[in-house]
């Protein structure tokens, strides 16, 4: 491990940080209240170069290392988590999916506008019926009987950027073509959302309120032939890992922001004749927060570094996400506790961060889903649900009848007897 400052592009990170703090951060509270990303934010993101941070030079990126990428993410997420989600979902996740699964030449027409900020992307996976259980997904891509391309139909829900995106990478079932060998059954479809047959709606959400979130409806929407990429289902987790990484960094940034806000508050708020910060109980909470944030951040740097070097490390990221996101919930909880009722008062940063934190525990695969994946990666056999009786084999299903004086259970009355 080499953590020398020279291994990170510090000028880039410092420049992003000062730009975001001078603009986007100042609008974070208003963005949360209005429930949308302010127009100026998007222009500032474009000007800052943030949208190009995560990509190699060949496709118009900055070609920086993984730790620099993680630090750039953190700078934006600390300024405004809602803006961060929207922008990073578009350039990092959609950008990576298109550049990894698409064609380098053909799909520049999709990548270029995403990286320039002219267009916004969404990654549409989840449907109304279930979260990560792909068995319930119904959205289907099939050959257009009247043309050269495909048609997509179905509904995706609880999708970041659904209300305003120009392009969606959609995980969909891929209908086999009549007479052909069965395909993998799944595909990524790059769908232009600015055309007839696409409908969309907003969905209310607890935190990250500035982030656009909602559903997409596809009614036989045409998709170009080149924009449908058949993928085996296991590829899906590989692609998702980019999302787990950026969500983890959002939690780390959010926890850091809450910790700094809390240090400020504890140093000035006087109670019982001394600043809160002089109380051991408060100090212990701050110290635990510091340790947990550091742990998550270092693992995020390591994962991001390997990933940018071309290694999958998707198990490592699957471990990071539950830890980092649950950590942020603990840290913001402690921050509220130390702020007292100010922590529950709208307008205070901690109140907002406390609502933002749980979003990341759920979004892009829940913690429990990822723990399952990690266990599976250690060779723990996984299978679909099997009907199972927990208690009958143990005898624990029986009520404790027959103890002296018990009225909890009595021997069953003979049939036909009345009480």
């Amino acid at each position: 491990m080499d953590l020398s400052p020279s291994t990170v592009d510090h000028r880039l990170v410092a420049d992003l940080d000062s730009r975001f703090q001078a603009g986007i951060a100042l609008r974070a509270a208003a963005a949360d209240e209005a429930g949308r990303v302010p127009e100026e934010n998007w222009q500032e993101l474009v000007d800052s170069g943030y949208l190009r941070v995560f990509h190699p030079r060949e496709i118009g990126g900055l070609g920086v290392d993984g730790v620099t990428q993680a630090q750039a993410m953190e700078a934006l997420a600390r300024a405004c988590p809602g803006t961060y989600w929207s922008a990073t979902m578009s350039t990092l996740l959609c950008g990576k999916l298109i550049s990894s699964y698409g064609d380098v030449v053909e799909h520049r027409r999709l990548l270029d506008p995403i990286l320039s900020g002219a267009q916004i992307g969404a990654f549409a996976v989840v449907e109304r019926t279930s979260g990560s259980d792909a068995g319930t997904y119904r959205t289907t891509v099939r050959r257009d009987p009247d043309g050269d391309g495909y048609l997509i139909s179905g509904e995706k829900a609880r999708i970041t950027n659904a209300p305003n995106a120009d392009l969606a990478v959609v995980l969909a079932r891929l209908a086999d073509e009549p007479g052909a060998e069965p395909g993998p059954g799944w595909c990524f479809a790059f769908v232009n959302l600015r055309q007839p047959g696409v409908d969309r709606y907003d969905m209310p959400h607890l935190g990250l309120r500035a982030m656009p979130w909602g559903g997409l409806l596809f009614d036989d929407v045409p998709v170009r032939r080149e924009d449908v990429v058949p993928v085996p289902y296991r590829e899906f987790a590989q692609g998702m890992a980019w999302g787990w990484l950026f969500i983890s960094v959002s939690s780390i940034a959010l926890a850091e922001a809450a910790l700094q806000e809390t240090i400020r508050h504890a140093s000035t708020q006087v109670a019982f004749g001394r600043p809160l910060a002089h109380m051991e109980g408060v100090q212990a909470q701050l110290a635990e927060a510091r340790a947990e944030i550091d742990a998550a951040r270092l693992l995020a740097w390591r994962a991001s570094w390997h990933r940018a070097e071309g290694r999958s490390v998707h198990e490592l990221i699957a471990m990071l996400k539950p830890y980092a996101t649950e950590m942020a919930v603990r840290v913001t909880q402690a921050a509220v506790q130390i702020h007292g009722s100010w922590g529950l008062t709208p307008g205070r940063p901690v109140e907002r961060l406390h609502r933002d934190a749980p979003m990341s525990v759920i979004g892009g695969f829940t913690s429990n889903r990822l723990r399952e994946l990690v266990a599976g990666s250690m060779g723990m056999d996984i299978d679909a649900y099997a009907d199972f009786d927990w208690l009958a084999p143990t005898g624990l299903a029986e009520a404790p009848g027959g103890l002296p004086g018990t009225t909890l259970a009595r021997p069953a009355a003979p049939a036909g007897a009345t009480a």
Partner: protein, 392 residues
Amino acid sequence: MGGAVPTAPEPKEPRVTMEFTFTEELEQLRSEGRALASLVPPPAPRSAPAYGDADEDVFRAVAAKGIASACLPSEHGGRGLGIAEACALWEGLGEGTGDAGFVLALSVHALLCAVPLWKLGTAEQRSRYLPRVATGEWAGALSLHELEGGASPANLEVRAARAAAGGWLLSGSKSHVVNGSFAHHFLVTAVDDHGEVSAFVVDRESAGLSVERGTEGGDVLLLRDCPVPERALLGSAGAALRELLPLLTAMDSTAVLAPWLGVMQALLERALGAARGAQAFGRPVERLQTVRFALADMRTRCELSRDLVHRAAWQLDALSEPGRQEAAVARLFVTSAARAVTADADRVLALAGWLTDPVAERAASQARRLGATAGGVDAFRSVIAASLLGLG
């Protein structure tokens, strides 16, 4: 809205309400039970090895294989490993043995005693001790209380007085000494009449020095007007808290801590091995979701701990002013992780039918001791908070 307030109909049977009182009769029964406890003897003194206990032969066999010499410079017969390299070696020792207590005996010799002798020792002390320290021939010992510095009352119990004939007279005792039964020398801090703390390296053969087995495990070093020469002073007089303690603390949060990375990994492998093929509630243990979650969390804690220890080690190797906050963060996090991992291992092993597992039980009791040494989690939190808040 007007109208009569509806009234509940009269119950046909007496109403049953909850009862929160403890009747006199129940109170007497509780007293009766408490009184019977006088027939039950208190728990016997512990018979299991203490944290840091090592069999001398095994200790010497391992120490001689490049462990005792690991962190000493080549001019004194050492391998010249940096802290990050030592962490890797020590992590392997922990993973291979699964015994953090045994590895602690090696750490006390090769890290906590040898490194201060090198860093703080005079040319004479270095040439006298280090070659035979590096081979493992002369074993070093110290009390785990030394890691607590001035905060521990235990460290005030050895007094140092200037002797009329030159040198010093040491008197008092230190408990929880590691390697006490076979050590050649002891690293001891003592308090002088002005309340200043000095460090000494005291040879076993010194008059007035004896070692006893402690009642809580570990050895007790007894010093009865033990005369030590001027050359026994390690570092400057009165400067141990400034010179020695930061060295001990830095190693305690890195290479001395690193075996726990290995022990946690070994426990994870053990739990995985036990879960595979075992049955509980009539189905394979490896398919119980709560077991799967516990195993995933164990592995996550291993990975998180590793980065924090490596960062603290890298700082010691590479920075002129390594941060005390980062070291304390590593120590705090790994200490909590060790408790959590040993608890998870216990649960998975029990479900798999390994109701008594000596390796896991030993690790659990050692993890408890890890949390109590060097001031414990409260001290680590204080260090972190002081640095966050710009206090102290």
